[in-house]
Amino acid sequence: MKSIVQMLVSVLLLGIPGGTAAAYDYPFQDPYVATIIGTPAEFQPKMPEKIDYDLLNVKVFPERTPPDVFWYQRDFRYSLSYQQEEAPLIFVIAGTGSSFHSSSMIFFQKLFYQAGFHVVCLSSPTNMNFIVTASESSVPGDTVDDAKDLYRVMTQIWEQVQDRIKVSDFYLTGYSLGATQSAFVAKLDDEKQVFNFKKVCMINPAVSLYTSAKILDDMVLRALPGGPDTFDAWFKQIFKKFSEFYKIMSHQDLTHDFLYEAYRAIHKTSSPQQENMAGMIGTVFRLSASNMLFTSDVMTNFGLIKPKNMVLGSADSLTGYLVVANRTSFVDYFEELFYPYFQSKRPGLTKAGLIERLGLRSIDAYLRDTPKIMLMHNADDLILAPEDLAFLRDVFGARAKIYPFGGHCGNMEYRDNAAYLLDFFKN
């Protein structure tokens, strides 16, 4: 296995196009390499280097003022790229922790804009800006509630931009957690009918959020045989390497984008070990989890990391909280904040019941009976348990496009995938 990884990485670094005349030529067959490296530019569809877009704000809850320590999160932020003439509008929902402006989101923005769509990019409900400004509970993760929050924001955005653009039809897509949420948003839209989405595409969704979160947590532990106390040493290695290779200030997203780039830099000189790659992916999600957990903790005054009732000012140090938050996993978030929080709001809620609610199985019948929803996934996606893939194949049948490899979202920017996606929406 190791030699395959080495070969693949060297192929990438030398810039030699990988693969032969196989049916599917995405260059990385190892799911870990695919997840981290993604799709190198030469394998992506041809797109302009930059396109015009507007950065816009909505005040979702007019009466809500952010706490002093988050003073800068005043409004919900999103981007709009629009066509001069009448065109379909597509909403894109980001993956875990990511903002509307992360590198994958910019990819979709360009892809759809170039294909003649108006494009609205939305941050994930697990992104800090969303939690502070647009989440009703400020405790993200409940797919039904997250869909309501998303729908509210989308409706407000539509009110804000409808004078400016002419829209023929509405479409919806999302990747990773954003894909799971898009199914719930589509279901809500069938009831409320503001958009009447014509087509919806889910790209690499999680089936059960709890299962996926556990898989990602375990990835960090695999990289830390010395236990959670050694996370810091591991983190340091990544961080230091990153600072050497890249201009610090030029990165928008300090979680996914920058950590994967750091990893690519580390392994320009040495060959990656699979445990390290798993650890890297887990760490990326761990940082998203700690951002989400701390933001949620402050917003709800829950008292998990920040002492309850303590009011933080805009100049107070958060370093100690960051050290604690980095030690906290998704499952910790679920057990210590998410579940107790919802239990206090909904008496009688059981843990099993909550876990069941958080995923696609809870809307099984809807997914089966709704032909406008399409699925793109990978057989080797790391965040799926084996039974999840079987579930998806069964539910979506011919509406599922399952690629043999590509890891978690690694191949979504590959030219064949992009062409398939556009073809689905345009025809």
Binding site: D68, F70, W71, Y72, S98, S99, H101, S102, S123, N127, M128, N129, D232, A233, F235, K236, F239, K240, F242, S243, E244, I248, M249, S250, H251, Q252, D253, L254, T255, L287, S290, N291, F294, T295, V298, G303, L304, I305, P307, K308, N309, M310, V311, L312, G313, S314, A315, D316, S317, L318, T319, G320, L322, V323, V324, A325, N326, R327, T328, E336
Partner: protein
Amino acid sequence: MNRSLSLMLLAVFCILIGCSTAPVQKEPIIPAKRPVSEYVRPDVTYTIEAHDPWEPMNRRIYNFNAIFDEYVFLPVVRAYEYVLPDIAQTGVSNFFKNLTEITNLTNSLLQFKIVKAVNTFGRIMINTTVGLGGLIDVAKTVDGIGRENEDFGQTLGFYGLGPGPYLVLPILGPSSVRDTTGLVADTIVYSLMMQELIGHLGMNDTQEEILNYSLTGLYAIDKRHTESFRYFMTGSPFEYDLIRKLFLLQREFLIDN
């Protein structure tokens, strides 16, 4: 920059930094379930920690910079980008990069980095002549000689001086006591050079002053234009900490190279 505008900015800055907004504590504080005192051991130095004794002031300046950016700096930069064609923007960037090569040259020499000094000297010669006064980076595109990155902060580090406390500078952003000292020294050298250059244009004092201010303003706009960082867009409540650490580690790396 004209004097009354500077004074006004200074006043706004003092108001923002000076007024300590001590949060009002209304209810009794209940210890956290995962308290910092239990998880953060005093005998361990964590990766994310840094020598930052003036953290409250630094955080206030960081916040000020974000506001300044949003309401003053970025609108000006956007107007600049709207008015000027892309090719002219690149020309302006190259022009200032060429002028500031003086910093790379002096500091490469001070550290006896002869190859870097020779490369930089070559770049200045090629770009100033063939590159039409620095507007085109011919040295890079034709001869493949890339720009070096040396400054007096690095020179001080090269001779063994540590960074000292972390410091966030108004408008300019992350720095340290050592690097701020370096910045002052580099700015003096640059200003002396500019005075000398402008002195050769045969202008009267007022014209010289106007040119000087215009160039400084344009330089600031170009600096911000070439920098894609946007405050509070990282999606992390710990942005200040992350940027601080990345900055300090990167300086360490630059000094070693």
